[in-house]
């Protein structure tokens, strides 16, 4: 589905990705975990062509997304939906306009059809009667839900979640995780979730990739990672201060 090989990316003298290889399996939820500042968001942005690597290959369904025309890239991007860390809702629009935006721009649906689809998408993520609210009137959890509704609307094959639960309280976190599982079960998309939420993410994802020092240190099922014998993975999963991961 998504294949990344020998990916290198540096910002000035700071190397973020250092020969990273990763295969995202189709139709499953894959979590990318790792210490803060290791480049998880950078990695996910490479998958959709928002960032270009210094070296390496990125393929989506066997098609390279590097060195291609913008129109070709946009054709590939139509397979994706993305939920950003801060939801990235358009702050000059209300909830309805935000969710309706991709439909208005990319389909020839009538106003009433768009209205029905938007209401239905909002209901899918557990939101009712918020259509006329502006984004600054929404809580963090509601913003994420609206962002997810917008990402789901065009039935993408792949959805990228960039830290979908950061800054939320434990109950809302659990609700968002449940929402990811439920929508995945309903729509069957391939999901890539960047997350710090240990151990909750093991209940959400089927596969987990541990990013450390610019490479995927270990890739396996949630159970394999949870019980990994690798000292780095074990320290990260247990949240211990002692171990090879040094706090700066």
């Amino acid at each position: 589905m998504i294949s990344l090989s020998n990916l290198h990316k540096s910002f000035g003298s700071q190397t973020v990705l250092n020969g990273l290889d990763l295969e995202i399996p189709a139709g499953q939820i894959t979590a990318i975990i790792g210490p803060s500042g290791e480049g998880k968001s950078v990695l996910i942005k490479h998958m959709i062509g928002l960032m270009q690597p210094d070296q390496g290959r990125i393929e989506v369904d066997g098609e390279s997304i590097l060195g291609i025309r913008r129109s070709q890239l946009n054709r590939i991007r139509e397979k994706f939906g993305m939920l950003f860390q801060n939801a990235a809702l358009f702050d000059s629009m209300n909830v309805f306009e935000n969710v309706a935006f991709p439909l208005q721009e990319k389909t020839a649906l009538s106003k009433s059809e768009i209205r029905d689809r938007v209401i239905s998408a909002l209901e899918d993520v557990g939101l009712k009667n918020v259509e006329h609210k502006y984004t600054d009137e929404l809580s963090g959890g509601m913003k994420k839900r609206v962002g997810l509704a917008r990402a789901l609307l065009l039935n993408p094959k792949i959805i990228l979640f960039d830290e979908p639960t950061t800054g939320l309280d434990p109950i809302i976190k659990r609700a968002i995780h449940q929402l990811i599982k439920d929508t995945h079960a309903k729509f069957g998309f391939t999901a890539v979730v960047v997350s710090h939420e240990i151990p909750e993410i093991f209940d959400v994802a089927q596969n987990v990739a541990m990013l450390y020092k610019g490479r995927i240190l270990q890739f396996g099922t949630a159970a394999e990672i949870r019980h990994s014998q690798d000292p780095v993975v074990r320290q990260f999963v247990s949240g211990s201060l002692d171990g090879p991961i040094q706090m700066v």
Binding site: I48, N74, R75, F80, F84, N86, A88, L89, D91, K106
Partner: protein, 256 residues
């Protein structure tokens, strides 16, 4: 010594790179205007923001500019006994020079800075990236409507500036200082030719491009956080104002 040369070379390369990026941004903007100009509703919204909402400040500036020109012109022309030429002096100054330049500078301060801040905030809050992930070209939604609106609005605002300024000069010259009203307009009509009007039109049109271009560019490539947007906004206003004055000189020398 080597370090100094390296540092100069590094900055020069940086400026050349920035210029190339700005040039490419403008070329791509016009390409998008020709290919996908965006929805009429987005263009009208920008036209209202850049044009209609600038009307008050333009009229106010124009009125006082015309009044000052009336006073200064009267003071100078009475020395030669030619106060009857006041209308000509006011009109030519406004139509050829002050109208386009002051309109552009006022719109830069009011709308150019807002354009940069708006796009800059969209950049740092990942709204531009959100557009890209939806396979939508941000230029179509953010840049081309502003460019088209600025190209339409600036000549219209400039025309309004000229008319209000001429009546500002008339108020001071004719009503306060006693210049013959017939002479004020008659001499003006005789002296102002289409070439003068065209010169002002061409200037304001190109100033519209500069305002939208620099405003959008600085916002699109704004740095990190609130400080990045604030710096981009300041740079946008300064660069636009300087470019307007430099471009005004070149255009004047060509169109004179």
């Amino acid at each position: 010594m080597v370090t100094l040369v390296q540092s100069i070379g590094h900055s020069t390369l940086g400026y050349v790179h920035e210029l190339g990026k700005m040039g490419w941004f403008l070329i791509y903007s016009f390409y998008m205007v020709a290919r996908r100009p965006g929805r009429a509703v987005h263009i009208l919204k920008q036209l209202r923001f850049i044009g209609a909402k600038s009307l008050f400040v333009i009229c106010l500036t124009a009125a006082f500019t015309g009044m000052v020109l009336g006073l200064q012109g009267y003071y100078t022309l009475t020395k030669f006994g030619s106060e009857g030429m006041l209308g000509t002096a006011v009109a030519l100054s406004l139509i050829r020079e002050l109208g386009p330049v002051l309109t552009a500078l006022m719109v830069t301060g009011r709308a150019g800075s807002a354009i940069t801040a708006e796009i800059g905030i969209m950049r740092i809050s990942e709204q531009i990236e959100a557009l890209e992930t939806m396979a939508l070209d941000p230029f179509k939604y953010l840049i081309t409507p502003k460019l088209i609106a600025a190209i339409i609005a600036l000549p219209l605002l400039c025309a309004i500036f000229d008319v209000v300024g001429i009546y500002g000069g008339w108020l001071v010259g004719v009503k306060l200082l006693g210049v013959n009203p017939g002479a004020y307009f008659y001499e003006m009509e005789k002296a102002v030719v289409w070439r003068d009007v065209f010169s002002g039109f061409a200037k304001s049109l190109s100033f519209g491009v500069i305002i939208a271009w620099v405003g959008c560019y600085k916002g699109y490539y704004a740095g990190h956080g609130a400080e990045g947007v604030s710096r981009a906004t300041t740079e946008s206003v300064v660069l636009t104002s300087v470019l307007i004055l430099i471009w005004d000189y070149f255009l004047t020398s060509v169109l004179l």
